[in-house]
């Protein structure tokens, strides 16, 4: 068959979610993936005795069997929930911030988190409870908005969600200023900033508050068999539903007809496949800049794409250590290690190749002890580059530059945690922006899609999602999509765009 109802470009979280949604509705679907396995960033790789998780630190929105989170519900609807085994994470994070001398662990769970906050400030518990109450209102308001399809009753909004309305224009910084919390409390609540990778002046308060709330109250989990398990679960579902997924298959062109409507795709080997609908799981920079003839791209699509900011470029050091976590004194699963809690400064310092190595680091064995052979452990540390500095590295300097940066991050971890790991490194792999550019094809090796900017944050994107599409038959999901980066968000963006595609098809009367 050379014709499909829908073609999905890319099998990252967004592409896989989109394909499952389309197929569940009984439509035919082909996924074209340029890599030889599904998942995009959601994958793993084996070196010697170790299997490394490529990206996932924690998956938010899964909840428990008894109290499923919003993403688990989506997985259930798509028929993939039963294919994945989850491990619940106990603690939220271990925050180390050198300037302020912070060095403490925060647990998951609203109650526990609030209680622990009393150690940071005498009124800590109360502040957190207030904050979570505000978050609850925000979440409910968002729920109401989506129920009313963006046409809420103003009276209801005023009466039930006044704080939501008030803070709609706040940056994170303005939000916390308005709340008037003491520095220790704000610094702690700011710990998650690196998961969105934008500083407090740019991130919108609504978005950030919503994210930390769902981490703190909903907790987080990881799949037993690394994120590759999620990707293969989706692939299995795609086959069960009669869909096709082709690997080593790069789409080089999105074809349009005389009316400017999508008519198919061209693969790298020249083969063309017909379809009236394409869902792309890659960046609009690539879609409009490379996959489409420039005449077929409306001017406003170019403007919008230029308007957006490519987010952090990833750098990760993966270590297989020949000693156990216990032996090494690595006590926690998830570390945030910062120079200071001033994330504006921290963001600045990540603009250069002299990046100080502030990091989000995971010791997988502390969540899942069996993830590596006895007497060993897996540690991976991620930092971001907030500017395109890796573009200036030459071929000849590339390997040395990456090892230099990796060594700095390892040293940094040792210093912050008081452990010694550099002398028991049995396996090492280092992913640079080049690596991420190679595997997923994103511009500059960006791993976080478009950065959460003040005017390009979650609420604006959701509200303007229809306005932000330009080519009939083409939709863009995944980490560059409406809900921004992250496993649950990129997956849901794909699912949502698929839902809209199904409605487009209905309207067309097919």
């Amino acid at each position: 068959m050379d014709k499909y109802d829908v073609i999905v470009i890319g099998s990252g979280n967004g592409g896989l979610g989109a394909a499952c949604k389309i197929l569940n509705a009984g439509k035919s679907c082909l996924v074209c993936e340029k890599h030889n396995i599904p998942g995009g960033f959601a994958t793993s790789f084996v070196r010697g005795r170790f299997e490394f998780e490529a990206s996932l630190h924690e998956f938010n929105g899964i909840g428990t069997d008894e109290e499923p989170g919003s993403t688990r519900k989506v997985f259930e609807e798509l028929g993939i929930a039963d294919k994945i085994e989850w491990i619940q994470l106990k603690d939220a994070y271990h925050l180390i911030s050198e300037k302020e001398g912070y060095d403490y662990v925060m647990p998951f769970g609203a109650e526990a988190f609030a209680k622990e906050s009393a150690k940071l400030h005498p009124d800590g518990e109360k502040y957190i409870k207030d904050f979570l109450a505000l978050c609850k209102q925000i979440r409910e308001a968002m729920g109401y908005l989506s129920e009313t399809k963006g046409r809420p009753d103003p009276k209801v909004m005023m009466e039930k969600y006044p704080d939501y309305l008030a803070c709609g224009s706040y940056s994170v910084k303005e939000g916390f200023e308005a709340l008037g919390y003491p520095k220790e409390i704000v610094d702690n609540l700011n710990a998650y900033w690196c998961y969105l990778g934008a500083d407090e002046n740019n991130m919108t308060f609504l978005h950030y508050a919503n994210m930390i709330n769902s981490y703190i109250t909903g907790g987080a989990a990881i799949p037993t068999h690394r994120s590759h398990e999620i990707s293969l679960a989706c692939e299995e579902r795609i086959h069960e539903l009669g869909g096709d997924i082709w690997f080593n298959t790069e789409v080089v062109k999105i074809l349009t007809d005389a009316d400017g409507h999508v008519s198919g795709v061209r693969l790298k080997d020249g083969r063309e496949i017909e379809s009236r609908h394409v869902i792309a799981d890659c960046s609009p920079h690539v879609v409009y800049g490379k996959l489409m003839d420039s005449e077929a791209v409306p001017e406003r699509a170019v403007k919008l794409t230029n308007f957006r900011k490519l987010a952090g470029k990833g750098f990760t050091v993966f270590l297989g250590l020949s000693k156990s976590a216990e032996e090494l004194g690595i006590t926690d699963h998830n570390y945030f290690i910062y120079d200071s809690s001033d994330n504006v400064k921290q963001y600045e310092s990540m603009k250069s190749l002299n990046n100080t190595g502030a990091q989000a680091t995971v010791c997988l064995n502390n969540a899942y002890p069996e993830c590596s052979p006895e007497g060993t452990c897996i540690v991976y540390m991620t930092t971001l580059f907030t500017d395109d500095v890796w573009s200036s590295v030459s071929k000849e300097d590339y390997f040395k530059t990456k090892n230099k940066m990796a060594a700095r991050m390892i040293e940094r971890f040792e210093k912050a945690t008081g452990t010694t790991i550099h002398d028991c490194i049995e396996e090492i792999a280092i992913a640079t922006p080049e690596t991420y550019a190679r595997y997923c094809g994103h511009p500059q090796g960006t791993i976080y899609g478009y950065e959460s900017q003040y005017y390009d944050g979650l609420m604006n994107r959701i509200q303007m999602v229809e306005e932000d599409r330009f080519v009939p038959g083409l939709r863009i999901g995944g980490g560059y999509g409406e809900r921004l980066l992250g496993y649950p968000s990129s997956f849901k963006s794909g699912v949502n765009e698929a839902g809209r595609t199904l409605r487009d098809m209905e309207k067309e009367g097919r």
Partner: protein, 386 residues
């Protein structure tokens, strides 16, 4: 809760209501300059990892009695990708009715590659080496996979001094490392201990690799000669070469690995500091030779072929002339990752480098897998367009 940034009544809400309008306006004001989707980072990624490239056989020269050095040049001129000394390339081509692919360690320095010079060393054994040594004339064009593999020195993981132990054509990655140390593209010390039967079997000039951070010791098992050690690579020789800052790298036959590991154990050398390059997975011994039916899906194409139970699936695919993706041929790299639709298979534990989810959902690496029944698999297409 006093939750406001503005003291003007209604101001906060007004600002919130304006968010989308303001975004719309900012987009309007953004220039429609042509989009940039490929930056320096993307270009470097492509230069280091171009996928398959076409390489021409530009020269052949005997190296010892068992090997032939093959010089390759890029078909379209220019350079080859930069790499890490110790890495290998996989060469593919049609040979008779078969479509064959084999990995070979590079013996050139990474700097030579940039100038379009890449040498490999082929040992006389098997059908691909016969083809490339005896049959393929100069000028033959081959597909070459990008340099790959993690058998290279790493300044963080490995010690500053590598004692490199090799036999046969296993010296190849170390020749590259020694050249790289010399021209400054790698920065560590290397002592090569090479085991050969006689001088005539040595595929390189040991004198060439002495001094400037490299040293070479050749051990002959069937000949006594001045300037050469006699016997085997034993504990006392190893002890002589190893200092406090040593990692041991090995490349050669599995029997050599077993022997040398035993010797290293005698001197109490830390096992986690030993790295050995893995050898190709070959035929296996079976009680009863059986030939199964293998159905292969590549995208929407379907092939049906025979798969004897003593050969890996990749061998069956190659014999049938199907261009099948493969890179390391030892089960570890995952390039040939494929889905089992139906049927039974066998993978030896020591060659099983699959991810744990692959085991759960039934995925295999055909280069290290044997059929145990009729089998239906879905393999990725070989994307030869680079």
């Amino acid at each position: 809760m006093a939750f406001k940034k503005s003291d003007i009544p209604g101001e906060d809400i007004r600002l919130a209501m304006e968010m989308t309008a303001k975004r719309r306006q900012l987009i309007d004001e953004t220039p429609a300059t042509p989009l940039v989707y490929e930056y320096g980072v993307n270009r470097l990624a492509k230069a280091l990892h171009p996928g398959f490239v076409k390489a021409v056989i530009a020269g052949k020269a005997p190296a010892g009695s068992d090997c032939v050095k093959i010089a390759l040049e890029p078909a379209g001129g220019g350079g080859f990708p930069y790499f890490r000394a110790g890495q290998f390339v996989t060469l593919s081509c049609k040979a008779g009715d078969s479509f064959l692919s084999r990995p070979y360690s590079i013996i050139s320095s990474p700097k030579d590659a940039l100038e379009g010079k890449l040498e490999i060393m082929v040992q006389r054994k098997g059908i691909f080496s016969t083809f490339i040594i005896e049959e393929a004339p100069l000028g033959t064009v081959l597909w070459m996979g990008e340099p790959s593999g993690d058998f290279h020195h790493d300044s963080i993981r490995d010690r500053g001094h590598v004692v490199a132990i090799a036999g046969g054509s296993g010296v190849t990655p170390f020749l590259s490392m020694m050249k790289a140390i010399r021209d400054g593209s790698e920065d560590f010390k290397l002592t090569l201990i090479y085991g050969a039967r006689t001088r005539a079997h040595i595929p390189f000039d040991p004198e060439e690799f002495k001094g400037d951070g490299v040293d070479t010791v050749v051990v002959l098992s069937e000949e006594e000669a001045e300037g050469y050690r006699h016997g085997f690579i034993t504990a006392d020789l190893l002890e002589e070469c190893i200092d406090e800052d040593t990692s041991v790298f090995m490349c050669g036959p599995d029997a050599m690995y077993r022997f040398v590991r035993g010797e290293l154990e005698k001197i109490g050398f830390d096992q986690t500091l030993i790295r050995s390059e893995r050898n190709s997975v070959g035929d296996r011994a079976v009680d009863e030779l059986k030939v199964f039916k293998l159905i292969v899906h590549i995208r929407d194409a379907v092939y049906e072929l025979d798969a004897p139970n003593n050969e890996t699936l990749i061998t069956a695919l190659e014999r049938a002339g199907i261009p099948a993706v493969v890179r390391c041929r030892n089960g570890s790299c995952g390039f040939c990752h494929s889905r089992v639709v139906n049927g039974e298979y066998f993978i030896a534990a020591e060659n099983d480098f699959r991810r744990s989810a692959d085991k759960k959902f039934g995925y295999i690496h055909p280069c290290s897998t044997y059929a145990e029944s009729d089998l239906e698999i879905d393999i990725p297409i070989m994307d030869l367009e680079g």
